[in-house]
Amino acid sequence: MIAFQNVSKYYEHQGVLKNITFSIQKGEMAFLTGPSGAGKSTLLKLMYLAEWPDEGDIVIGDFHLQSLKPPQIPHLRRNIGVVFQDFKLINNLTVFDNIAMALRIKGVSEKEIKNLVSEALKKVHLRHLSDSYPRSLSGGEQQRVVIARAIVTGPLVLLADEPTGNLDPNTSIDIIKLFEEINLQGTTILIATHNRELFRNTRRRVLKLDGGNLIGEEIG
């Protein structure tokens, strides 16, 4: 489902990702870990083309990013749910409308949007905050809104960048359980985190990144 082949990314001639090669199977749930500044976020950004790789090829499902035509970019992104590290919530829209945005972009009917959004809100335990605005929510609540927005479309691939960075240990475990559930329904998931607690005892693959190099993998 996800395949990196000798992918490199430079910022101002500084290699941030160096010759990365790995693949993740369809329906797999894996982790990506490494210290701050290792390049985890950058690696994820290359997949939804917030950044473009400088070298190498990336394949996501049927999308070959190297030869992707610009009109295809929205289609790629609609198939990838992203839990952004910096949330990227729209402040002048309610929680409901933030989550609904992912569906409106796809042209889903308003009636269906209502059902799907309230379902997603239920999964992250935020139904009571549907009409609130992001600024009035705690960091953990905002993070769960972002998660709801990422899963509401039922994406092929879910990329979560530090999805529990603002959550207490108990809520974090809840979120990982939620990801497990979504994974059971067939969604391929990659979770970037430097919190080793998250993948301990999950028996999942963990890719280890350091200084832009993939230095190996382990089983959590």
Binding site: Y48, A50, P70, P71, I73, P74, H75, L76, R77, R78, N79, V82, F84, K88, L89, I90, N92, M101, A102, R104, I105, K106, G107, V108, S109, E110, R149
Partner: protein
């Protein structure tokens, strides 16, 4: 489905940024009003000018001792020409009668004369297309060659002036129209640019969620069009106020204004023009989006 959302989003934004939008609408309105008044002015000048050629004529003076048959011959010759709309024969006697009537109280001027000094003449009305200085001159020279015609008089200056006035007014109107239209486009451009930058962050986010360029653009095009539309509506209101002021107020003081014709139908064009120019401005403002 998406379109409905685009409209909703556009109107929410219009309300959120109401002062910018109201200001732009009024700017568009006054611009469109200027265009309308220019068109209205031009229309009236054209109207007056188009009636002038009817009154404008050549006068062919006939030889002194001409016979009735010869006059008939000349009339027949002239009637064959395709640049002449109509003829009127004025005999010596008619001419002196008319002169006396014109002079009225001053007719004693003619008292010393025991012979009619005037020539008989034929008044020639040209077809509208030939009322230009050049063709009037050419026609008069051709007519002069007809035997029995002594001389031809034509109002060279008048023909030229009418022609020039029309031409320069047309040119002026075109310049005004282009300038003001560009202004309207610019107003829409800068408004949409401002709205776009205010929502830059939001746009960057929805791009990452998979929004197409069309989805991103649509609300802004709708906003630009709406500003143009309401600018047009306000323009209509302004033009109507102008119209009522002219017909019911000013024309009482200045009766000449009563003869002005105001084609109200053209007001329909204002919202249409507003929408088009608004959308053009928005398209330019959005430029080439990068996903």
């Amino acid at each position: 489905m998406t379109l409905a959302y685009s409209f909703k989003s556009a109107f929410q934004s219009l309300c959120r940024e109401k002062w910018i939008n109201i200001l732009s609408m009024f700017t568009v309105a006054s611009s469109l009003l200027i265009i309308t008044l220019t068109a209205f002015f031009l229309y009236n000048v054209e109207l007056v000018a188009s009636h002038l050629p009817d009154r404008f004529s050549l006068v062919a003076y006939l030889n002194d001792n001409i016979s009735q048959e010869e006059v008939q011959g000349i009339v027949d010759t002239l009637k064959k020409r395709d640049d002449i709309a109509g003829l009127k024969y004025i005999s010596k006697d008619d001419a002196i009668k008319e002169l006396k009537q014109t002079l009225k109280d001053a007719r004693y001027i003619l008292e010393g004369l025991n012979e009619n000094p005037l020539s008989s003449s034929i008044e020639i009305r040209l077809k509208r297309d030939f009322v230009t200085s050049a063709s009037a001159k050419r026609i008069s020279e051709e007519i002069k060659k007809v035997s029995g015609i002594d001389d031809v008089y034509y109002g060279e200056k008048v023909a030229e002036a009418i022609h020039l006035l029309k031409k320069s007014l047309q040119n002026m109107s075109i310049i005004i129209f282009i300038t003001i239209s560009t202004g309207v486009v610019f107003v829409a451009y800068s408004t949409v640019k401002i709205l776009f930058y205010r929502r830059k962050e939001e746009i960057e986010i929805i791009k990452l969620l998979g929004a197409t360029k069309g989805f991103i653009r649509m609300p802004f095009l709708i906003e630009g069009g709406t500003i143009g539309f309401f600018g047009g509506i306000l323009g209509i209101i302004g033009a109507l106020l102008f119209y009522f002021a002219i017909t019911y107020r000013l024309s009482i003081v200045i009766p000449l204004l009563k003869t002005l014709v105001f084609p109200l139908e053209i007001l329909i064009l204002l919202p249409v023009t507003g929408i088009s120019l608004g959308i053009v401005g928005s398209v330019i403002a959005l430029g080439r989006l990068k996903l």
